[in-house]
């Protein structure tokens, strides 16, 4: 039906889309005059938080990874860096050939609008906009901001893909959580990004809806999309093909997900559980 689902089948290719080398992120939280030229000692303490302390990672095109770890371990920080929302304190981050650490604010915005799709825990749709307008939002920040005929069609296609083509003129507050998240998924696809980043995408949803959303992400990955998600829940993480565990700003484990090692596909298991409850 759509090119989104019918691209070169699943599985990671050899093309590296993301390469992080010894990435560090340190937050400085000044107290009083701290950190300033005259802040020296005693004047005020500077509290430094090492959110990431030397992370090296690679993601290939078509990969599906879940980042796990305790609260405060640096997952969101990592995802923000991946999403070019922030710059690392040190280290190198290459995204699709660009050294992101070197880009200025406007260039980072440009990268976000062209190469990255975001899915958030709380959907983050714009309340006053319709489904269509929300899906098209990243496009308004590309080039001259005019939505071409081609993109109009693409919007329709994506709406159909997430099953909301009959809700195009609805506003977020007229949709259920799951439907809103599906709009967000369509929005994350509209600019045909290198990577799709999802931070706790199912955190606000019940298990049945979570399953729906994860199923959708799975299909996208089958179609060749690179997906990196952050989650707390092990059964959600199992949808991914690769699981990365973090602790105190470093990666402590990085390997294939259990289902890749011959386990039961979590989707099947969840379906069974749901049918039990009925």
């Amino acid at each position: 039906m759509s090119d989104i689902f019918s691209r070169n089948g699943g599985g990671a290719s050899d093309r590296v889309v993301v390469r992080m080398t010894n990435l560090r992120k340190t937050y400085f939280m000044g107290h009083g005059s701290g950190g300033g030229l005259f802040g020296k000692r005693g004047g005020g303490e500077v509290l430094t938080v090492h959110a990431l302390r030397g992370v090296s990672l690679e993601f290939r095109e078509g990969e599906y990874a879940a980042i796990m770890g305790q609260s405060g371990s640096g997952k969101s920080t990592m995802l923000n860096l991946l999403g070019c929302l922030d710059r690392p304190t040190s280290g190198e981050y290459i995204l699709g050939g660009y050294d992101v650490a070197q880009l200025d604010d406007d260039e980072l915005s440009e990268v976000r609008s062209r190469s990255i799709g975001f899915i958030f825990q709380s959907y983050n749709l714009i309340q006053q906009y319709t489904v269509t307008e929300n899906i098209q939002l990243p496009l308004t920040y590309q080039g001259n901001g005019v939505i071409s005929e081609e993109f109009q069609e693409r919007t329709m296609e994506l709406a159909r893909l997430v099953g909301l083509d009959d809700r195009l003129d609805h506003r977020p507050n007229q949709l259920s959580g799951g439907q809103q998240q599906r709009v967000a998924i369509a929005r994350s696809l509209v600019n045909d990004p290198y990577i799709i980043l999802a931070d706790e995408a199912t955190g606000n949803l019940d298990s049945a809806t979570s399953y729906e959303i994860m199923d959708m992400l799975g299909k996208l990955n089958d179609a060749g999309k690179t997906i990196i998600m952050v989650t707390h829940e092990p059964d959600i993480a199992e949808y991914a093909k690769r699981i990365i565990r973090m602790k105190d700003g470093v990666i402590v484990e990085d390997g294939p997900s259990p289902r890749m090692l011959g386990g039961e596909h979590p989707a099947e298991r969840m379906k069974m559980e749901l049918s039990k409850h009925r």
Binding site: L85, E110, Q127, T140, N144
Partner: protein, 426 residues
């Protein structure tokens, strides 16, 4: 262009999210703009009215009128209150002006007498005006039928009369007045012309009282002089009073407005030494025009300033609301930034929203500002208002500028938010 249009459309949506709030904010601008336009319209209206009034008197004219001296002045100079009061402009003055004053284009002597005008059984208390052929031109009178007075009429002491339109209607309700006789004082005059109806002039203060030209009858000054003489008898509260005047008014038309201010002192020098009693009064329309212009400008500045202050207050209201809006929509800003909006895009978005607010306010304000002066004209007597394009453009321009100026700070504040912080905002 398409992008701006789209931004305006989407901006409207955001504003419509809080209809009441946006509406109230807009109201501040509406009233400001309406006030600017209405106040400037009133200032402009009164300026034009004054202009027109003085213009009718002729910008190149200098007008001398005879005035009856006050009782005090009579006592101080003449001793006993004269039974026969002799005052005003003399034929000598007229001749002297003509002989000594430069830059004169034309000069018009006028003698006015209040008297009954009769034809058969019809009578009218009107005004007999002894004058020369130039009177019609000086006073913007047009001829309905026949002709006005000529040089010959004056030279030959003709007993010809030209009637004002009301005079003609009253005395000759059913007949053609031309060729008929009217009785003025003890003599008969042949009607040679009738003037068109002319709107009466308003008084401008001083010696120039309001004039109703329609109840006049015009006769050659020479005939007036020989037939009516200079002495006019009045019976007042039982006693008889007599007044002696030669000319009621002399209007001196100068060659151009440029010479008015230099010629006025010369005229005064030629006339005023011969009138130690204050029995004549000079009016210089050109000075009045300039004066009116000056006061109108001050008036406009004062009114404009007051009105602009209300626009400023409207602007502060907008800024206040936009600051609240930016804080409220922190999350939205974060979302937009995450999805690729540059700082400039955010600035532009909020600026467009403010300008839409102030622009809509401006448009409504223009509409109301155009209506208010009309309403004032309707309900407040003697007030003329004139809305000018300049004031509309000015007021609308200011309202948009207010939107930009007061929108800039909130918009920049929005643009400088950290995307991650903004996204975390509740």
């Amino acid at each position: 262009m398409g992008r701006i249009l789209r931004s305006v459309k989407l901006g409207m949506k955001s504003l419509m999210l809080h209809k009441l709030r946006s509406g109230l904010t807009v109201l501040g601008i509406v009233f400001g703009v309406a006030a600017v336009i209405a106040m400037l319209a009133i200032a402009e209206g009164s300026r034009r009215e004054a202009q027109a009034r003085f213009q009718m008197l002729g910008a190149t004219n200098v007008i001398y009128r005879s005035i009856k001296p006050s009782d005090e002045a009579q006592l101080s100079t003449g001793g006993r209150p004269a039974r026969i009061l002799n005052y005003g402009l003399k034929y000598e003055d007229y001749d002297r002006i003509l002989a000594t004053v430069p830059n004169i284009k034309k000069i018009l002597p006028i003698r006015e007498i209040r008297k009954q005008i009769r034809h058969d059984e019809h009578a009218l208390d009107g005004r007999i005006v002894g004058t020369t052929k130039d009177y019609a031109e000086f006073n913007h009178l047009e001829i309905e039928r026949g002709r006005f007075l000529t040089q010959h009429d004056d030279d030959d002491y003709k007993t010809y009369a030209v009637l004002g339109s009301d005079t003609a209607k009253k005395l000759f309700p059913y007949e053609d007045p031309l060729g008929q006789a009217v009785k003025l004082g003890s003599d008969y005059y042949t009607v040679v012309g009738v003037t068109k109806e002319r709107a009466s002039t308003a008084g401008i203060g001083g010696s120039l009282a309001a004039q109703d030209y329609n109840k006049d009858v015009y006769i050659p000054l020479s005939s007036c002089r020989v037939r009516f003489g200079e002495r006019i008898m009045n019976f007042r509260s039982g006693s008889m009073e007599a007044e002696e005047t030669q000319l009621s008014q002399v209007t001196i038309q100068l060659t151009s407005t440029d010479v008015v201010s230099q010629t006025v002192p010369i005229i005064k020098g030629a006339v005023e030494p011969f009138h130690p009693k204050v029995d004549i009064d000079m009016t210089v329309p050109y000075d009045l025009i300039m004066e009116a212009e000056r006061t109108a400008r001050q008036y406009a500045i004062i009114l404009g300033t007051i009105a602009s202050i209300s626009l400023l207050v409207g602007g502060i209201g907008i800024m206040n609301i936009m600051l609240a809006t930016v804080t409220e929509r922190t999350r939205e800003i974060g979302i937009r930034r995450a999805l690729g909006a540059k700082r400039g895009d955010i600035t532009q978005q909020f600026l467009i929203e403010t300008v839409v607010l102030s622009g809509v306010g401006g448009l409504l304000g223009v509409a109301i500002g155009v209506i208010i002066p009309k309403a004032i004209e309707q309900f407040v007597a003697e007030t003329k208002a004139q809305v000018t394009w300049n004031s509309i453009i000015l007021a609308f321009g200011i309202s948009v500028a207010v939107g930009i100026i007061f929108g800039l700070y909130p918009a920049n504040r929005a643009a400088n938010m950290d995307p991650i912080e903004a996204l975390r905002h509740e």
